[in-house]
């Protein structure tokens, strides 16, 4: 019974740590499916986390915080678009630049505005997204297996968590069942064909990048306003890159993306929970490095081949 309890706890925290990965992963999916590589998920997430927490603290509202976080993240996404769509710059270089600008400015501005060593003020219950307790969560806790699962894993998550998981079928639907989604996938494979059909490649890609910005902003706000209660410097801690790894792992498809994020989330949660027991068998560092190692193995083509969208990373030049 104790084992079941522990497992349920780990599953609960798996969900919690998977959410930012999942949101960032889906964010990257829109952009990369449209043919724009995005190394800058990390930076957008970090900037969104900072802007969200700062605005929520100053303006005293979680929802306004979320809005500001999204706006800042979209602004950075548009910079990426301006460089890589309008000016046909190197998409990788642009993404790296955005990561640095976000990493530096969140620390500098945080310190200058709040004087707490790069932190934003701690957020109260109204300023952040609190866990939602579902009906009868306490009542069914005693029921074996289903009870703890219901009360610890399904109930007690924040609104943003449910939103993140809802975005998986939504993204699937947008991508495979709407006109916008068809065009978005086409522009990532063969932009010239889309152009011939009389659709603006640039505007389509800009729209994809705005979707990326919105989701990255929410991912950041989840970190600082749902999981945490305030911004801490470097709080994205490489999650943007893990999300990118998950995206490749999922071969740029929404539903596998969710499972990849849950897998990486489970590794993180398990590493934290069983740190002391595991360290006698394998070094903790091996578990921490596992998502990266798995991604490399996948990239090497040993677990099926990950083929990126064909026009990914290539700026589109209209023929004259």
């Amino acid at each position: 019974m104790e084992f079941v309890d522990t497992l349920v706890q780990v599953l609960g925290s798996t969900i919690r740590v998977s959410v930012p990965l999942l949101l960032a992963c889906l964010a990257g999916l829109y952009s990369e499916r449209a043919g724009i590589f995005d190394i800058g998920l990390e930076g957008k997430m970090l900037a969104g986390a900072f802007a969200g927490a700062a605005a929520a603290a100053v303006l005293n509202s979680g929802w306004i915080g979320l809005l500001v976080g999204i706006l800042i993240s979209v602004a950075l996404a548009l910079v990426h678009g301006f460089a890589s769509i309008t000016h046909r710059g190197n998409q990788i270089v642009s993404g790296v630049a955005i990561n640095f600008v976000a990493a530096g400015s969140t620390i500098i501005l945080g310190q200058a505005w709040f004087q707490q060593g790069g932190r934003t003020p701690a957020l109260g219950p109204d300023q952040r997204f609190e866990p939602i307790v579902w009906p009868f969560a306490d009542a069914v806790r005693g029921v074996p297996i289903i009870g703890p699962l219901y009360s610890n894993v399904i109930s007690g998550q924040t609104l943003l968590t449910y939103f993140a998981f809802l975005m998986v079928p939504v993204t699937w639907w947008v991508l495979y069942r709407t006109r916008f989604g068809l065009r978005l996938r086409a522009v990532g494979e063969n932009p010239a064909a889309v152009d011939t059909a009389g659709i603006s490649v640039a505007w389509l890609r800009y729209r994809a990048i705005i979707c990326t910005g919105v989701l990255c902003g929410i991912a950041g706000c989840y970190l600082s306003m749902a999981q945490g209660a305030g911004f801490v410097k470097d709080m994205s801690a490489g999650r943007g890159y893990i999300a990118l790894a998950a995206l490749i792992f999922a071969k740029w498809r929404p539903v596998p993306a969710m499972f990849a994020c849950l897998l990486f989330g489970f590794l993180e949660a398990a590493a934290i929970r069983w740190q002391s027991q595991l360290s006698t068998v394998v070094p903790v560092q091996v578990i921490q490095a596992l998502p990266y190692i798995l991604t490399v193995i996948l990239l090497a083509g040993f677990i099926g081949k990950a083929i990126p969208p064909r026009a990914g990373g290539v700026p589109y030049v209209k023929e004259r």
Binding site: I39, G89, V101, G104, L109, Y241, A289, T295
Partner: protein, 377 residues
């Protein structure tokens, strides 16, 4: 077309355009300083004074520049072959492991001038090995080198935490670092050079690795522009198709280029590990691998440009430290912003100002762009 399709004179291409890009980066950085509530011009002056105001400050500037020469060269060599090595950070980290192992093995038995060449070889070897797997995967399995090198940065982090917590940690010590090296693995300082110039520098971390960096820059210039292999790697970078038609082995070039690139990044570790702090700790790379990207872009891939750009970034680091004493709100993280902006303007947006500058030059002096000849007579 309004913009003339002509080449700019070399001095504009290598001089004016980087300066314009830098200026844009500094203007935006100035806006951040304004947001913080300080005067950007005063901040700029404090930085310049902090970087070059005294012999000691210059020595620190050159010490930081040493890091960036190595990492900048590492990025540039790969870029010439069309590869984006973003893994300098991890390669330098693992290079430090090589330096540490050599230093710990030899420091009690031989003088520094015997340890040094062995440590150089070990640093380059370890850094190169860390780049080998991403290189192999790029060449033979077609996986994207940007992603694999990022992954290897994180794996390097985990590896080093493990190494410094277990095999390399002295008994009874809590901190994740090696023991201090004895005199046999401590590199001589270069403070005497400032003595010759009439400046007193009592203590600074500037050491002979700086000279090694300059020599390396020259050797890399030879390699890229004066050897057969350099020709091949530039061909691959310009046009993979042309390289294939010419019968060059793409796989071989990718692997060798990445080994050189990783080796250069690894050699960076000599500077802090043997030159200054005399042990291997967890923070000796401190982002220098990433600064290399900005340095390579501003230096336009040329070793001479990279040395200049590295000194510029060394000045930003050193000046930034002094600045943070005067304006406590502007910490060293300001450099990270400037670095990001430089990468944005000099890298991703490099085409933004070029048409304007081309038009400007075409109007001002058509001859300098060979337009007069084309239209003429």
């Amino acid at each position: 077309m309004s913009t003339p399709f002509a080449k700019l004179p070399r001095w504009v291409d290598y001089g004016v355009i980087p300066v314009v890009n830098l200026l844009m980066a500094f203007i935006v950085a100035g806006i951040v300083v304004l947001l913080v509530g300080e005067n950007p011009l005063r901040a700029a002056w404090a930085m310049i004074d902090g970087a070059f105001g005294s012999g000691r400050n210059i020595a620190y500037t050159l010490y930081f520049a040493t890091f960036f020469i190595f990492t900048g060269l590492a990025v540039a060599v790969a870029l010439h072959a069309g590869l984006f090595n973003i893994g300098g950070e991890g390669q330098a980290f693992v290079g430090g492991l090589g330096v540490g192992i050599v230093a710990l093995a030899l420091d009690r038995y031989v003088p520094w001038y015997i340890t040094f060449p062995v440590a150089i070889a070990a640093a380059a070897l370890f850094g190169a090995l860390w780049a080998l797997i991403p290189a192999y995967l790029q060449a033979y399995r077609g996986s994207h080198i940007v992603i694999t090198t990022i992954m290897f940065n994180y794996i390097a982090g985990s590896l080093m935490v493990f190494m410094l917590n277990n095999p390399l940690k002295p008994l009874g010590s809590m901190a994740p670092q090696t023991r201090m090296f004895e005199a046999g693995a401590q590199l001589p300082k270069l403070n005497w050079i400032f003595g010759l110039l009439g400046m007193q520098v009592r203590s600074s971390p500037l050491n002979i690795t700086f000279l090694l960096a300059l020599v390396t820059a020259f050797l890399i210039w030879l390699l890229i522009w004066r050897t057969r292999f350099g020709y091949e790697l530039r061909t691959l970078g310009h046009s993979p198709k042309a390289a294939r038609y010419a019968g060059m082995s793409e796989k071989r070039i990718v692997i060798i280029t990445m080994l050189i690139s990783g080796g250069l990044a690894g050699m960076m570790a000599l500077n802090p590990v043997m030159g200054d702090q005399h042990n291997v700790s967890l923070d000796f790379v401190a982002g220098a691998g990433f600064v290399g990207i900005a340095v390579a872009l501003i230096g336009r891939g040329h070793p001479a440009g990279i040395v200049v750009a590295a000194i510029l970034f060394g000045a930003l680091y050193q000046g930034g430290t002094e600045l943070s004493f005067q304006m406590p709100d502007i910490t060293r993280d300001m450099i990270v912003i400037i670095q990001g902006l430089v990468i944005l303007f000099a890298g991703a947006l490099e085409h933004m100002f070029r048409p304007w500058i081309q038009t400007l030059f075409a109007t001002l002096s058509p001859k300098s762009m060979n337009l007069g000849v084309a239209k003429g007579a």
